[in-house]
Symmetry: C2
């Protein structure tokens, strides 16, 4: 079984973004009404999914995708808590509908209603709602709700602990994933995403978070940002700082395979143990189209993993076993369905 | 000949940092006098260099190092222009003395007196002073003087053009290098440095800077941040954005070999043409000590380059020819000395 652990609903029916536009308009002009929930038909959802994510998943040999709202659309930089709450709720409800329509092919991961340095009680409540009432299996956690200015506390700060306590209790992991960049010096897809992966890993290396939360689990996407490429740097820095070797973090931290060329995947799998790599493509995401030199779609990461030097056991871990281990609620659902 | 293109004077005699401390104290308390230039003897400089950078350079088989002030010490986030000017002047004078004492082994690259969004006339003046009166061969350019908040304009913005005009006229490159991080969420050595490399490359990919300045040259250190590891991502993003292939930037942009393990160097040299890689170690810099598993010092990048799959011609380019091409004033000095 092949599980793609990182997909976003980037092709939502039109009403969804219209709701968001109306919400932002009402925030800017209090004389406007907050829009009602959009009316999106099951057929519209089916059409979008079948023509995009599910089509590619099938074509490329995948069986199931862990699916969450569009990352760039989370827009946690908008400081109004009620707006964040309504928007995350709407986005997550849409994911739940996708999962309900295609239960064999999608599992839900939720957007959290974060705001810059905002309260976390609503964040925890939305996580609980998604996991307990809609069978979601994880969440996406934004380490920089400011959108490119990094004004929030590091992930090791106690500010985040209420969320971690709920994650541990519910036994769900978080994928560390920023949203759009409000900073013209930091391009969202070409800099902010990768920088966030790198910064998050270094924050974890600097602290003792997993001593306090030994079962907390984070997935750092996009192949761990710059980390595997600079693995010697991290090992040397950890030594110089008197910290444990960074590989100690691999009890709790996992990287995915959203790296869009063969040499990058080869480096990832040469440096990081197969126990800590989750298969993922992030399709349909940042990088669309195919390499004109080879015809291989950039984000067809299965193509690269298939060609990497791996044993069958390692391949099974990356494509399935690790994902089930990191997302135990998904594993339970699959097991209950005889898969 | 083996040229290490990236070294900082991280082991300055005590008086140098005392001057800086006095300068910052006077800035905080106007009743205090701005300190006079420190009295540092030639012997103190000789002792520091011979026991550190020159010792390692010799032990590892290097011949010459391109040498600049300590990167983390530039501290461009201090907004006072006069302070920045005096500090850069002092740092650069010290580099000039190192070069004067060891002309066969060191060539100077200057710190610029940048401030967040500050005027560039003094920056240009200091560049001219260093190049025209002290024979420096390049400069370090900080794309984020704020120190981790990225409040400045992208490198493609016309804010920077007066500096580029001087660089083109003087025919000197800039190494893109941030300084310390003031942001507790972004560790200087483990995140900020690499993120800056990545962000800078993406800024250049978004713009047409080199159409306006076709002979302008930038070195992006630390192996290009996350870029080579994610090369497919950059190619795919460029296509999606309707931009030229990112390899087009390699007329003007070069990466160095400050990547501290064999798999990272192998990836760099597999992905990036040997014409665009400059040998560098950044010693004595961020990462000190040796890998306990192999005994190889983390920053002995020559060890890794020696073991990479390269032809003799490629090796010659990386160790010498590219550096002389990117730093033509260094090449002229070496040629004049019969080297």
């Amino acid at each position: 079984m092949i599980i793609d652990s990182h997909g976003h609903f980037t092709t939502t029916p039109a009403g969804h973004q219209e709701f968001r536009a109306g919400q932002l308009a009402a925030l800017a002009d209090p004389s406007l009404l907050v829009p009602a929930a959009p009316s999106i038909s099951d057929d519209a959802i089916r059409e979008s999914i079948e023509g995009n994510q599910l089509k590619l998943l099938r074509e490329r040999g995948g069986d199931l995708m862990i699916f969450s709202p569009r990352a760039a659309g989370m827009e946690h930089h908008i400081p109004d808590v009620a707006t964040a709450q309504a928007w995350a709720g709407e986005c997550n409800d849409l994911i739940a509908r996708v999962v309900g329509l295609f239960p064999e092919h999608f599992a839900g991961v939720c957007q959290l209603p974060q705001t810059p340095d905002g309260p976390l009680d609503g964040v925890v409540a939305e996580l609980r709602r998604c996991v307990e009432t809609m069978s979601f299996v994880g969440c996406n956690l934004n380490p920089d709700p400011s959108g490119g200015f990094w004004t929030s506390k590091p992930l090791t700060d106690e500010y985040w602990f209420p969320l971690y306590e709920a994650m541990v209790e519910l036994d769900v992991p978080a994928m560390i994933h920023v949203s759009s960049s409000c900073n013209p010096s930091v391009h969202a897809l070409g800099a902010h995403y990768l920088n966030a992966d790198t910064s998050a890993f270094m924050q974890l290396l600097e602290g003792d978070l997993f001593e306090r939360f030994p079962t907390l689990r984070f997935v750092i996407p996009h192949g761990g940002g710059a980390v595997p490429y600079h693995w010697g740097r991290y090992r040397g820095l950890a030594m110089r700082m008197g910290r444990p070797d960074p590989s100690e973090l691999f009890r709790n931290v996992f990287f995915d395979t959203c790296v869009y060329h063969q040499p990058g995947i080869d480096l990832l799998l040469r440096v990081i143990d197969a126990d800590n790599v989750l298969f993922a493509s992030e399709m349909i995401g940042a990088v669309r189209g195919a390499d004109p030199a080879t015809g291989v779609p950039w984000d067809d990461t299965k193509h690269y993993v298939d060609r990497a030097e791996l044993t069958e056991e390692q391949r099974h871990k990356i494509f399935e076993a690790n994902v089930r281990r990191v997302y135990p609620r998904l594993d339970a659902q699959l097991t209950a369905a005889g898969r």
